[in-house]
Structure formats: C-alpha cells, structure tokens
C-alpha cells in the first residue's frame, strides 16, 4: 500500500481516544474522592466492616464495664479479646504521642454520643493500622483499647475491583470506538488516496458514525461524478478522433488523385501531423484510463523494438544497455511512454540514445538522450504538463505537447518518476526511473 503514514503514534485517533478516556475517568475519580474527603473525612478510614465491629465492641465493653462490679471486669474484657482488638485495665493513662480527641467531625460526635454517660474519652491516637483509645470509667478506672485496622479501606477488594473494571471498560470502549471511528476514517483516507479515476476504485462502505457515513456517501458521489466526467471526456475524444479521421482519410485518398508532386507532399505531411496529434491525445486519455495487467517482460527487447521502429523511419538512434533484463511491468504502457520520449528526442535532436541502467539496486532507469537544444531549467517542470507549449511553439513539429505528459503518467503507474536533465555541451536527458519490483 502506498498510503503514507508520516504521523506518530500520538496522533492516531486510538491513542488520543485512550488518553481522553483515561484522563476523564481520573478526573472523575479525583472529583468523587475529594467530595468524600470534604463531606466525611473519617468515613473513608472507618467504614470498613472491621472498624465498624471494633467501634461497636468498644461501646459494648464500656457499657458492660460500667454495669459490672470492679471484680468481674477482667472476665468481661477477656471475653472480648481478639487478635485485632484488645482492651486492658490500667492504673494510669498512657501518654500518647498525639491526641485526636478534639478534632471535629460528624462521625466523632456520633461516636461520643454513643459512649455511656460518665465515661470520658481521654485520648485517641492512630499510628499506621493501630488505633489506641484511652477512656476513663465513671469510677476512675482507666481502660485502654487497642484496635488494629485491616487493610486501609481505600485499597479494599471492592475498590480494586472497581478500578480494574473501570480500566477494562476504558480499554473495551476504546477498542470499540477505534473500530467504529478510526478504522472507517483510515479506510476513507486509503480510498481517497487510491482514487485516480482509472477504473479500479471501489465504492466506499457507508458505515461508522453519522458524520463518517455522510462523508463516505459524499465521497462516493464525488467519485461517481469524476468517473462520469472522465468517461465523457474519453467518449468525446474518441468521437472527435473518429470524426476527424474520416475527413482525413478522404483528404488522403483525394491526394492520390492529384498528380502534382510538391504541394502534395506537404499536404501528406500535414495529414500525418494531424493524425499524430489525434493519436497522442487518444494515448494521453487512454493512459489515465483502464490499465493492462502487469506481466513479466524483457525490458531490452521492448526498448530495442521502440528504437528499431524509429530507426526504420530514418532516425539515427542507438540502444545501450544489457541484452536481457526481466521486469514486472505494464509492457504496452511502457512502450507507449518510451515511444513518446523517443518521438520528442528525434524531433529536437539529430542523434538519440536510449540507455538502460539496471545496476542500481531496487530501481531501473531508462534514459532517452538527444543532442538538441535542451530545455531551460525554468521550463523543465512545465514541459511535462499536458498541453503545455514552450516558447518555440511546437506547431512545426506537431502534437499537443503530450509526449512527456504521457511518459510521466506511465512512470507514475509504475510507481516511478520522470525527470529532465541537461547534457553537456547541449541536449536533454529524460530519465524514466521505476522500481524494479512493481508497486501496485
């Protein structure tokens, strides 16, 4: 595929879509998180099932201790002991590195409201997963609770699952969006790139989002219009050519009945010139039209055949290059292209060389050289345009000036190029360079 991709990964629709989706869900999470922190800072830390159980246990133990005589307290406490929850009766309140009792918060006020009357919370301290709550019963007994939190609540399984689910859905959404948006888009680009009005274009499928369907439909309609225009042009040219060649044939036959020699020859030349112009216009139009199928051909025999034809017509021309070289190409088109170049060369020069160079890897060059006046640099790019007429107005040599344009089209159909170079001391070298493996 010749469709160029000069763009990086970041410029692809898929990448941009992933970035947008990931960024927007991150923003959503940050938003939700800050909302939670603002509204209920503790809830994030305390709402895990373990923490809830610990808090309830604290209330139960405190209520029990208040109701029981001092002698039975130890028994109650031992009934509540667990690995992550201990309560101990101490004589003196331990010193805590910091005390969070006074911090504000809805949860804390609820917590304090559940504490039995008479019980005083002396200190609350958190260090890592361990929380220490120091209380004093109404009779002065100090109770220290040691609570071990499970994993921090924001890394708990449900949240991990949620985040995983979120990212998985982003990926799925992206894949879907790419299939739906990006691939029709790139198919669209390939179709537009391919379209050359040469009969091998396919109708673009109308799929994807509404805008893309609309674009595809518009493209298909445009393609139809262009094809119709090309077809009209071809038909018109064929009709003109037929209608011109019939009177030309009459002229040619009438000349046969005129005995006089000198004007007769000039008229014959004019008829030949007009016929040549018609032929080159047809060849130009045809070159843009239906193509032949590529096949393996012997390039030197093709070039020698063209040379022989001109040699037989009385033009001095030599072929230089290998005797055999097989190339996958469009042989008839290539022959037309080279014929047009040689035709130009013999018009402007007296000695013409067709040279084949196959030494360069991956590329073959066909040079058609003449010793004519050459083409000034300023005109080089313009003489290859169809219907261009230089200062020397080519009326005298005939044709619509299509020779180079035809050869240029042939070169492009082979994925190659046509270039013009100066020769010393004077003359022109037209180089038709094509890849040694045909690009379709």
């Amino acid at each position: 595929m010749r469709f160029a991709r000069p763009f990086g990964v970041m410029s692809r629709v898929a990448t941009q879509m992933i970035v947008v989706l990931v960024l927007s869900s991150l923003m959503a999470w940050i938003g939700i998180g800050s909302l939670f922190v603002t509204l209920a800072p503790e809830s994030i830390l305390f709402l895990s099932p373990t923490v809830t159980r610990h808090v309830v246990s604290v209330f139960n133990v405190l209520h029990g201790l208040e109701a029981l005589p001092a002698a039975s307290r130890a028994q109650l406490i031992s009934a509540f002991q667990r690995g992550d929850f201990t309560a101990s009766l101490v004589d003196e309140a331990p010193r805590l590195p910091s005390n969070d009792v006074d911090s504000e918060g809805e949860f804390r006020s609820w917590f304090f409201s559940q504490i039995p009357p008479g019980v005083e919370v002396l200190g609350i301290h958190f260090e890592g997963k361990v929380g220490t709550v120091v209380t004093r019963l109404s009779d002065g007994q100090i109770v220290v609770f040691r609570l071990v939190r499970d994993v921090p609540s924001f890394l708990s399984l449900p949240i991990v699952l949620l985040v995983t689910f979120m990212f998985a859905s982003i990926m799925l959404l992206t894949v879907w969006a790419v299939r739906r948006l990006a691939s029709p888009l790139s198919r669209f680009a390939v179709a537009v790139d391919r379209f050359g009005g040469d009969g091998d274009e396919a109708v673009l499928r109308e799929e994807g989002p509404a805008e893309l369907r609309q674009a595809a439909r518009a493209f298909n309609r445009m393609q139809q219009r262009i094809l119709r225009l090309i077809e009209d042009r071809t038909r018109m040219l064929m009709a003109i050519s037929h209608d011109l060649r019939t009177p030309l044939t009459r002229l040619r036959l009438r000349l046969e009945e005129i005995p006089e020699q000198k004007p007769r020859q000039r008229m014959l030349d004019d008829i030949a010139l007009m016929d040549e112009s018609i032929a080159s216009a047809i060849a130009y139009v045809r070159e843009g039209g239906a193509r032949e199928t590529p096949e393996m051909a012997d390039l030197p025999s093709l070039l020698e055949t063209v040379c022989s034809r001109f040699e037989d017509a009385g033009h001095p021309i030599v072929y230089e290059g290998p005797r055999h070289y097989t190339l996958q190409c469009l042989p008839l088109a290539l022959e037309r292209g080279i014929s047009n170049l040689v035709d130009n060369a013999v018009k402007y020069g007296t000695a013409v060389t067709v040279r084949l160079d196959t030494t360069e890897a991956g590329r073959v060059s066909i040079d058609v050289e003449d010793d004519g006046p050459g083409v000034p640099d300023a005109e080089k790019s313009r003489v290859v345009e169809p219907f261009y007429r230089g200062d020397d107005a080519r009326h005298s040599v005939g044709g619509f000036g299509l020779g180079l344009a035809i050869a240029g089209t042939v070169a492009r159909h082979h994925g190659g190029t046509l270039s013009l170079h100066d020769r010393t001391p004077h003359g022109l070298r037209v180089r038709l360079a094509i890849p040694s493996t045909l690009v379709q």
């Binding site: 060649r245 044939t249 036959l253 046969e256 012997d298 025999s301 020698e304 055949t305 022989s308 005797r323």
Partner: protein, 236 residues
C-alpha cells in the same frame, strides 16, 4: 492471382468511392457496399476474395460482421478503423480479421496488405491457418495476440516486421528459405519489412531470442543464401 474480387463495407460514401477507384485502377474487381445488408446481398450474389470492413458502421458494427463472416467462411478480412487503438486491433484480430489498417491510410499500403493477405490465404490451405499459439524450443508465439514469450514466460517485444518474419519462420520451420521467399511471406504487413532488408530483421530477432546472437542456434544462415529455422514447431 488475376483480378481479385474485393468487397468494401464502408459507410462514408466518398471514402468508399475513392478506395473503389484506386483499387480498380490497380487491377482489382471491387464491389462497394455501405452497410451489413448490402454486404449480405453482395456476398450472396458473387464469390468474394477479400472483405475490407470498416469497424464503425451504422446498424451492425464491423466487429460483429467480422465474427459472423468468420463463422460462415474463411474469406480474408481486413479491418479499417479510425480509433487507432491497439485494443481494437487485437479484438479485430481475435474476431478473425486477417489484418488491420488504421485511418487515415495510404491507399498503396492498403493495396500492399490486400496482396499480402491474399497471398497468405492462397499459400496456406484451410487447415493450416494458425489459430492458437505456436511453440518452438520452449518459446511461444501467439499470432492472434501478436505476443512472443520466452521459455520462462517473459514477454519479449518485437516490431511488427520482426513478428511477421518470425511467424513466417514458424510456419515454414526446418526448411531453407531464401531472402526473396521471406520477403514474399512477410511483405504487406507493414512498410517496415519492405524497407528493412531481411538480414537486419534476422539480426534483430537473433538479439532477442538467441542465447548467443553471434553463434545462432535457432535461425541459422544458409551458405547458399537464405535462412533456416531449426527448431521443431508445435502448431495447434
């Protein structure tokens, strides 16, 4: 060949008249017609030696007439066309035309081709008319598509003069042919063969098909004057 009877099918009255006049002056008996119906009447009325058939005709077109004529008889056909299109040429030849002349044409060339086609028709009995590709030493020569392919299947290009000469060699393989005979066999397919001597055409063909053109194995020079095409030719 005394006064061949030529049937012209051409819708342009003036061209028809002038070609008729020219061919009559050059010793042909000519029946001019303007469309398929009058052509049918003319064919029913008299024996025709050759048909000159325009492709663009009102009513039934030249290609379809050509196909019809060919299915009924082996009368030689020369197509005339204004399209100057190699595709039309191949189609015409595939429809069974013997030769093809592009408008505007030189009447002398038309005459030369008429003579060549008539000569070939006389030289080749019905059964020998080549229909499919011929094979020699692995090479394949297709007289209808006018293509030559090497043993590796690679297309090798020939000028029409070279092609006609190689075709003549294939049709007369393993026989010594003098230059005059070869000239006779190839003349008329174009002016090329006439203007270039047989020797030049042979050396060009050798460059394209021989392993060593200086020591040719396929087209050998015969000392007494002439050439012999050495390989056995497989013709369908």
């Amino acid at each position: 060949m005394q006064s061949p009877h030529i049937l012209i099918v051409e819708d342009d009255a003036e061209i028809r008249t002038m070609v008729t006049r020219f061919l009559t002056k050059n010793g042909c008996r000519v029946t001019p017609t303007g469309d398929a119906q009058s052509m049918n009447r003319a064919i029913a009325a008299a024996r025709i030696d050759l048909v000159i058939l325009d492709i663009m005709l009102p009513g039934e077109d030249g290609l379809s007439i050509c196909r019809r004529l060919r299915s009924a008889s082996s009368v030689p056909i020369i197509m005339l066309t204004a399209a100057g299109d190699p595709v039309a040429r191949v189609v015409g030849l595939e429809m069974g035309a013997d030769d093809y002349v592009a408008k505007p044409f030189d009447p002398h060339e038309l005459l030369a081709r008429i003579r060549a086609v008539l000569r070939r028709a006389a030289a080749l009995p019905e059964a020998e008319k080549p229909a499919g590709p011929m094979r020699f030493a692995g090479w394949q020569l297709d007289p209808v598509g006018r293509e030559l392919r090497s043993p590796a299947g690679v297309r090798v290009m020939l000028t029409s003069g070279e092609f006609d000469l190689l075709l003549a060699f294939c049709q007369h393989a393993q026989r010594t042919l003098t230059r005059d005979q070869l000239l006779d066999l190839t003349q008329g397919r174009g002016t090329e063969a006439v203007s270039r001597s047989i020797d030049i055409l042979v050396s060009r063909i050798r460059r394209k098909i021989e392993d060593d053109p200086r020591d040719p194995a396929l087209i050998k020079t015969v000392r007494s004057g002439g050439y012999v095409f050495t390989p056995a030719v497989d013709a369908p």
